[in-house]
Amino acid sequence: MHKTLKRYFPIFVLPTLSVFAVLFLVPFVMGVFLSFTHFKTVDSSEWVGLANYIRIFTTDKTFMNSLWLTVRFTVVSVISINVIAFSVALLLTRGLKGSNFFRTVFFMPNLIGGIVLGHIWSLIINGILAFFGVDITYDPSYGFWGLVVMMNWQLIGYMMIIYIAGIQNIPDDLSEAAAIDGASPAQTLFRITIPMVMPSVTICTFLTLTNSFKLFDQNLALNGKSADTALLALDIYKTFYDHTGLKLDQWHGEGQAKAVIFFLIVALIAFVQLRATGRREVEQ
């Protein structure tokens, strides 16, 4: 079978591989290359070594600002989303009637696209702030907490589903044995439930981590015009395409250097995740 199938490479692999090579691998390699150049267009690039990287860490303050903002946003989101999602999952796995209805409601926001979601929350947050005569651009912390609330609204239901699956996988005899031995509900929670759902905790932590770190659409729709609340992905986009005001002196290539650093951080998170989950997923 191995031998018969081998000759069918042009039918089975070539279509996917050629598209993948031309529209992913080549742009990726080109992207790494361009980060070391000063360019107007892709064909007229001039090698400048590490100059782009030096500029984004020294002259151009927006990169470090948005990196720090993204780190703070990610930490707050990861903690709040996981704590709330796990608590809701505990409430919904007690066998109460109507649990499925609540599960349906909580998960729904996850399906709404980032742009639409961002505009819905923009109306609500600006509507609330209008009572105080300001809007979301008035203070960067409004934009920050707006993003956190929106992210919670979108991801709690998703993480809740994964936690519910984890809790339902705990064998019944464990909690029954604990109940017979006279364990209090708090003891059961901390000694049995939480240790048993640790794999779900790992999955959810990394999912919220990468989702928050790479956030773009919601950020653009909710407060895309304010430079103070641009997370990394939006800052990279602005460096490439938004050449208004003070950004005129920016080099083409700086955006690409930012993108490479962004990629390295995301790759590092993925690598740590792979180690944390014991390589199970890739090797199977």
């Binding site: 191995h2 069918y8 039918i11 089975f12 279509p15 996917t16 591989l17 598209v19 993948f20 529209l23 992913f24 691998l25 080549v26 742009p27 990726f28 080109m30 992207g31 361009l34 892709v42 409430l91 919904l92 007690r94 109460l96 109507g98 609540f102 409601v105 909580f106 729904m108 926001p109 996850n110 399906l111 709404i112 696209g113 980032g114 742009i115 639409v116 505009h119 819905i120 109306l123 609500i124 600006n126 509507g127 209008a130 589903i161 959810c204 999912l207 773009f216 659409d217 729709a221 992905a233 990279i236 986009y237 955006g255 690409q256 993108a259 490479v260 962004f262 990629f263 890739v282 199977q284």
Partner: protein
């Protein structure tokens, strides 16, 4: 006594869940309520119920439909999503079967390249990919389908490979001994077995492509070929003062409703797919 206490406890859980549901549903209800109010009252008082003075019936929806090219954008999104998902499911399942069953250094390297592509954020290739897309004249609705295949191949090949590894090769080998060619074997025997994974892969890709904003914005722009998220962003990103807020609210509702209907009908598959995607991704 004991059961009474337990009852009280259950009721307090219900109270918490009902309050939370209200918080989760409120944003959508607010949009819905505002979509039947006069434009002037939306920015002014977004949280009041429509009354006889502010209620405008479905006139916002009529304006939303006629003023913007919303319907065109909706069908562009349907076209791009349906054909991209079809291409991804068909071609990546074939590729995954080949690289799992033909074991050599080359297929192993290919597998790791596909896995690698899963962790690369879009911003990394944004500029150069856009450049090549325009050079190769792929800045069209059929062209963007190829781009989605290239960028979506990683996750899909990975998910199909994971499943194919778990099914024994004996059935396929028997088919080949009986005179089936590899192409026939794949379509008659392997593809039907892959159905559950194919549904998962379709749902994950459909959610991504339907909601994607940046790629279609850069490749197709905000002209006739624009997709739904691009149309929404174009309509809403301007200054709020000089926009017809009523028509915009109607647009938001119309953008959300198809997703909610799809969700209510395919909930089982969506939740299963999302869990599978989370565990693998």
């Amino acid at each position: 006594m004991h059961s009474k206490k337990r009852n009280l406890f259950n009721w307090s859980i219900y109270a918490v869940l009902i309050i939370l549901s209200a918080v989760f549903l409120a944003p959508i209800l607010i949009i819905l309520l505002n979509s039947v109010k006069g434009s002037f009252y939306i920015a002014d008082s977004p949280f009041t119920l429509p009354d006889s003075e502010t209620f405008t019936g479905i006139s916002n929806y009529i304006k939303g439909f006629t003023q913007s090219d919303f319907i065109q954008a909706f069908f562009n999104s349907v076209f791009i999503t349906v054909f991209s998902v079809a291409a991804i499911v068909l071609l990546t399942s074939m590729t995954a079967w080949y690289i799992v069953r033909v074991k050599n250094i080359f297929t192993k390297a290919l597998y790791y390249l596909f896995v690698f592509s899963m962790i690369v954020p879009f911003q990394m290739v944004m500029y150069s990919l856009t450049y090549y897309a325009f050079e190769l004249n792929l800045n069209s609705k059929p062209g963007i389908i190829l781009i989605y295949l290239g960028f979506g191949a990683g996750l899909s090949v990975f998910m199909f490979s994971g499943f194919i590894k778990s099914i024994p090769a004996e059935i396929e080998e028997a088919a080949i001994i009986d005179g089936c060619g590899p192409v026939q074997t794949f379509f008659r025997i392997v593809l039907p077995i892959l159905k559950p994974t194919a549904i998962t892969v379709s749902i994950l890709n459909a959610m991504w492509i339907w909601n994607d904003y940046l790629l279609p914005y850069l490749i197709l722009g905000s002209g006739n070929d624009k997709t739904l998220p691009v149309a929404v962003q174009m309509a809403l990103s301007g200054g709020y003062g000089n926009k017809d807020m009523g028509a915009l609210m109607a647009m938001l509702v119309l953008a959300v409703i198809p997703i909610i209907i799809f969700y209510l009908f395919c909930q089982k598959y969506i939740i299963r797919g999302v869990i599978a995607g989370a565990v693998k991704g």
